[in-house]
């Protein structure tokens, strides 16, 4: 009985099923079979760039936002008064505006904004934006010093109320602070900046606005109208209105940091350049879309650029091979370059140099072999020992063995201050005499003669400080140790440590020579002062030469490039004569991309691979295929 009932039921159900399946399913839309839904899939062309740090803040001038990962993205969405070309010349960007020196002493620069220069909400980009940039980063308007802010351990401010009632912009630049006063024209198109002290690198000092002033004021002061907001910023700075500036500074510090995705409020990520932000997933990627209403000469040529985050270069290679990223520009290592070269025909691998350079500096005042005190205050003896030591550093061998495999064009760097390939490099190298004093063919005979003259008992122990876990520096040390030990004049002692960064300053009696890299972010000529000037922050070695200090003082106020080059040459000649140290090589860089992307042309310093995005293009296979859409 039961079985029969079941049979009946199953038969009924089967009939129902047939009935239902007899009515044709809705249009399957060709091959896709999605049941007639629009899949909603994007069809724009996109170039995806792999990078090792995720984007997280719009304001690159604030204390938190100051990072390369942010600066790269901002390079795509904001224009500035100038940019570097592939030869590292600073080129004025007249789409944005123009600037000129109108007075040499005191140094006065006039910035004029282009008439059609607008933020993507239609508000003009003008002198008020630059005024905010100067007001914020100069630190002149801060009414509360850093030392008056009290923090608990998490960096949470404990006296928040007091801070809130004061003006405190947290991203201060010492060099913007040299600009003592600015003046705006009536139409807000022109800003005239007057320096308190002349400054050689004025051209890279104030180059644009990090954030739109009207947005800051609209949020900080609760103003609806952009024009009114601009005026409020102008008034606040001109009248030094502490109350308004306090609110402005608070928003400037914190308002532009992003959370997990783009904020609802679009004004927090306005663009004045070729691209605008359209999507962001914290810790994963950010996507920029070309602005159709952008009229400048650096207009976008690919519809979308996505910057994707992955901190492991070898995984980026796999992602490149799997088509998840199109371009990558990681730090170069031997394994990585080998893996990239193994990718085959569909990919291009470019090698070159990046902004960091390797060097060896000597300790002058630690009672070690390079300190005159060791020889009873005999400057000459110490100098000879230093010269002999530097003559023996196998610079060419290090480059040949460690760097050439990654960058076949690699050469020994011969300047303490100037990036190879930048306009002043050849001139400064010719003047400084480093190549002659410390020849690439190691001058063993010369070193022996110097040590003999010095009359010091050989071999001399020299402790070298470097990063213990850094494979390349370990290899450099091994090459150096071999060369030195062969000469019999010096005996290298491995003083490497993972804590080398703080030991440079705090443990000067633990090492006699330091091997590490300095990173250049611009072609600023005054940057070197921190390394060689008497008592300067990065001069860990007690090096002091009054003539160098004097020349540095001249250089820092010199605005004529030819004269700057001459002064740099003289400064460096002193460094060579005093046997301060030697420079070894520029870090190799590698850029790899799929051949479906064209126009990639990285430059040495920031924004590296992103330079020339307006020349980028895509060929064939990322284009959409009409008719395939569901």
């Amino acid at each position: 009985m039961k079985i029969r009932r079941l049979t009946a039921f199953v038969a009924g159900a089967a009939a129902a099923a047939l009935a239902v399946s007899a009515c044709t399913p809705p249009d399957e839309g060709g091959d896709t079979g999605t049941g007639g839904d629009d899949s909603g899939i994007q069809t724009d062309t996109a170039v995806t760039v792999g990078w090792n740090q995720p984007f997280y803040e719009y304001n690159t001038s604030s204390a938190t936002g100051n990072a390369t990962a942010n600066a790269n993205i901002l390079y795509l969405i904001q224009e500035s008064f100038n940019y570097y070309d592939p030869e590292l010349n600073l080129v004025q960007n007249e789409d944005f505006g123009t600037y000129e020196v109108i007075n040499e002493d005191p140094l006065t620069v006039e910035y004029t904004f282009a008439d059609d220069n607008k933020w993507s909400d239609g508000t003009p980009v003008d002198a008020v934006d630059l005024l905010l940039q100067w007001g914020a980063t100069s630190g002149h308007f801060n009414t509360i010093g850093d030392e008056e802010i009290e923090y608990d351990d998490e960096g949470n401010v404990t006296n928040q109320d007091e801070v809130d009632s004061n003006v405190y912009f947290n991203g201060t630049s010492a060099t913007v602070g040299y600009i003592g006063d600015v003046e705006l024209s009536e139409d807000n198109k022109t800003l005239t900046a007057t320096y308190d002290v002349n400054y050689a690198d004025w051209e890279v000092n104030l180059t644009g606005a990090a954030v739109p002033a009207h947005v800051v004021a609209m949020h900080a002061l609760d103003i609806e109208d952009p024009a009114e907001a601009k005026q409020a910023v102008k008034d606040a700075f001109e009248n030094e209105d502490t109350e308004a500036l306090a609110a402005i500074s608070k928003f400037w510090n914190e308002g532009f940091a992003f959370g997990d995705s783009l904020p609802e409020d679009k004004s927090l990520y306005l663009s004045n350049g070729a691209y605008e932000l359209v999507e962001m997933v914290a810790g994963q990627y950010v996507t920029l879309q070309a602005r159709e209403d952008f009229t400048g000469s650096h207009a976008a040529s690919v519809e979308r650029i996505t910057v994707r985050y992955n901190e492991d270069p070898m995984q980026q290679v796999l992602a490149l091979e799997n088509g998840e990223i199109d371009v990558m520009a990681p730090q170069a290592t031997a394994d990585l370059v080998e893996a990239l070269n193994g990718l085959g025909d569909g990919y291009t691998v470019l090698t070159g140099i990046d902004g960091t350079y390797e060097h060896v500096d000597l300790q002058f005042t630690n009672g070690g072999p390079f300190d005159p005190e060791t020889y009873g205050g005999d400057e000459e003896t110490a100098l000879k020992v230093r010269q002999a030591f530097l003559k023996l550093i196998p610079r060419q061998e290090i480059v040949d063995k460690l760097i050439k495999p990654l960058n076949p064009e690699a050469e020994v760097r011969q300047s303490y201050n100037v990036v190879p390939g930048s306009p002043m490099y050849d001139g400064v190298v010719a003047a400084n005499g480093q190549a002659e004093a410390f020849p690439l063919e190691n001058d063993v005979a010369g070193a022996e003669a110097l040590m003999e003259e010095a009359g010091v008992e050989t071999p001399v122990d020299v402790r070298i400080l470097f990063g213990a876990s850094n494979a390349r520096r370990q290899q450099q040390y091994a090459i150096m140790a071999e060369a030195f030990n062969q000469s019999g004049l010096f005996n290298l002692v491995d003083a490497s440590s993972d804590d080398w960064g703080s030991m440079l300053d705090s443990a000067t009696d633990q090492y006699d020579a330091a091997l590490f890299g300095w990173q250049s972010t611009s072609t600023a000529v005054t940057a070197g002062n921190a390394n060689y000037g008497t008592g300067q922050i990065n001069n860990f070695y007690g090096y002091s030469n009054p003539e160098v200090d004097e020349l540095q003082d001249q250089l820092s106020v010199e605005t004529d490039p030819a004269e700057q080059e001459r002064l740099l040459g003289e400064i460096e000649a002193h460094l060579v004569n005093d046997a301060f140290g030697v420079t070894i090589f520029q870090f190799p860089s590698v850029t790899a991309y799929r051949n479906t992307v064209t126009g990639i042309d990285p430059i040495t310093i920031s924004p590296t691979v992103f330079y020339g995005f307006w020349n980028w293009g895509t060929t064939g296979d990322t284009a959409e295929d009409p008719g395939e859409e569901g």
């Binding site: 899939i41 949470n156 960064g501 940057a527």
Partner: protein, 511 residues
């Protein structure tokens, strides 16, 4: 019992306090928040260094910073990642979700498969199958996860995507795969030579047929569950669930499952083409879960409708079967977007992904995004699964062997109970008890410890949070991660103890 819990909690808290101090000191010793400024040539670097020392209170001794941190932490303030200015609780929120997504699938799959294989292996103790599984388990144990992950990327992503360019499996390969599958199956089945031969041949033929079917219907480029596959898989599910749940002898239970199959087939077109399409704009995981619950309710209803004295068993069978069949229909809907997904510019015909948890610039509706999530999840899940699967296999094999040697198993057999009931009801259930003590600890281990897998697959989970912030010299997120993982580990141990006591009446928790 209460005293036990209170005592364990207090000990746990004390342990946490000590651990947090040790962590803090170790992390503080490891990181150097000024490292990036030390090698900067920026003229403002000294100024920034001063600001940072002030902000992070670096001049104070570490224990002073620890005390500050601890007071903030116990008052619920997890701090701020100073480098990005984001609050730690914010960062944790996203990271935990991503990790749970990854870990939940891998853990469930590893437990189900590991336990199943382990038990079969125990039932065939010292057979070739047992040795093979033992060998495989030890192999998996000993493989470093970063290596497995990279191999998976090379073969599972790049290799498979290359295969999809022209997805044709050579006949010889089909034959080879079928023979291997048949061989493995006959090993697992065991018994006399005839039984093995029949099972082996059937298994080999089935695999060969499936592969040929996929080839002929271009399944790789248009994967779907049409009438044929849906009917076959649903029937398979119905029989398997019934066998495991009540045994095929229980006719009402079997009929319940079969009714679910029929209902599934009847509803296939309306649900898949009308209901899902209609819901597309408002579809979400929450809604999908609701529909799943609805399916379970319907299945239980069918079981209840078949009535009988043991309707609860039928309802259980019905609920499980209906849920799984509904899942198949859901999967079919997702798979229907495969061709559109493949041809999207963001995917460019290479669907299996190696980094992140979603493809940028894809766009797409709910179904496309689900599909995209799967193509990102599959490799890291496999990597995690392969390794923990091995552990579960060994563990459940050992515990099953122990149980099968107990007196009550012999008694059960002496009473004349059939082998299925002996194994499933008396053996299997009891062999799961020891698992209760390792599963919670294991899950916690995965939440904190999917570090390498997350990093290699670049998924924004807890492990990534830890590594990235340690690299960025940011102590607050690192401490939050460490304390949370330590807390969960302690909690998991307490839960495991209580669970064990609840499951096994012989165990008493004594204060």
């Amino acid at each position: 019992m209460l005293i036990f819990i209170v005592r364990r909690t207090l000990v746990g808290l004390a342990l946490l306090l000590v651990a947090s101090f040790v962590f803090y000191m170790l992390v503080d010793f490891t990181i150097d928040p000024l490292s990036d400024l030390r090698t900067s040539t920026d003229p403002s670097a000294p100024l920034q260094m001063e600001q940072r020392i002030e902000m992070l209170n670096l001049d104070a001794p570490p224990w002073e910073r620890y005390i500050d941190w601890l007071f903030a932490f116990v008052t619920g303030d997890l701090g701020v990642a100073w480098r990005t200015g984001r609050s730690v609780s914010d960062l944790l929120g996203t990271a935990i979700i991503s990790t749970i997504q990854l870990v939940s699938f891998a853990t469930v799959a590893a437990i189900v498969l590991g336990v199943a294989v382990g038990i079969v292996s125990a039932l065939r103790q010292y057979s070739s199958f047992d040795y093979l599984i033992t060998f495989f388990a030890f192999l998996m144990f000993s493989l470093p996860s970063f290596w497995v992950a990279v191999l998976l990327k090379q073969w599972g992503a790049i290799g498979f995507n290359d295969f999809l360019v022209d997805p044709v499996i050579a006949p010889a390969v089909i034959v080879g795969i079928s023979l291997v599958a048949g061989f493995l199956w006959q090993l697992a089945v065991g018994g006399g030579a005839k039984r093995r031969a029949i099972h082996g041949v059937i298994a080999a033929l089935t695999v060969a047929l499936v592969l040929v079917y996929m080839q002929v219907t271009n399944w790789w480029l248009q994967p779907r569950l049409d009438w044929v596959l849906l009917t076959l898989t649903s029937l398979g599910i119905a029989v398997t669930v019934t066998t495991l749940s009540t045994g095929l002898r229980n006719r009402r239970s079997l009929y319940t499952a079969l009714t679910c199959v029929v209902l599934g087939l009847v509803l296939y077109i309306p649900v898949r083409y009308y209901l899902f399409s209609m819901l597309t704009p408002s579809m979400s995981y929450g809604l999908a879960a609701l529909l799943g619950l609805l399916a379970i309710a319907v299945g239980m209803g069918i079981g209840w409708a078949w009535r009988g004295p043991d309707w609860k068993q039928s309802a259980r069978t019905g609920g499980i079967t209906a849920f799984l069949i509904a899942g198949l229909i859901f999967l079919d809907k997702v798979l229907s977007y495969w061709p559109a997904y493949m041809s999207a510019p963001a995917i460019n015909n290479r669907p299996i992904q190696t980094i992140g948890d979603r493809a940028p610039n894809l766009g797409g509706n709910f179904w496309v995004q689900v599909l995209d999530g799967y193509t990102h999840l599959i490799l890291p899940s496999l990597a995690l699964m392969l390794i923990s699967f091995a552990g579960y296999t060994r563990f459940s094999r050992g515990s099953m062997l122990e149980v099968m040697n107990q007196d009550y198993i012999r008694t059960a057999r002496a009473k004349g109970i059939n082998e299925r009931t002996v194994v499933m009801r008396h053996g299997f259930r009891n062999s799961l008890i020891p698992l209760a003590s390792i599963v919670p600890v294991d899950i916690i281990g995965l939440i904190g410890g999917a570090l390498i897998t997350e990093r290699i697959f670049s998924r924004p989970g807890m492990g990534q949070l830890f590594i990235a912030n340690l690299g960025a010299d940011d102590i607050d997120p690192v401490m939050a991660y460490l304390v949370i993982v330590a807390f969960l580990a302690i909690l998991a141990n307490i839960v495991a103890d209580l669970l064990y006591a609840a499951l096994d009446p012989r165990i008493r928790v004594n204060a």
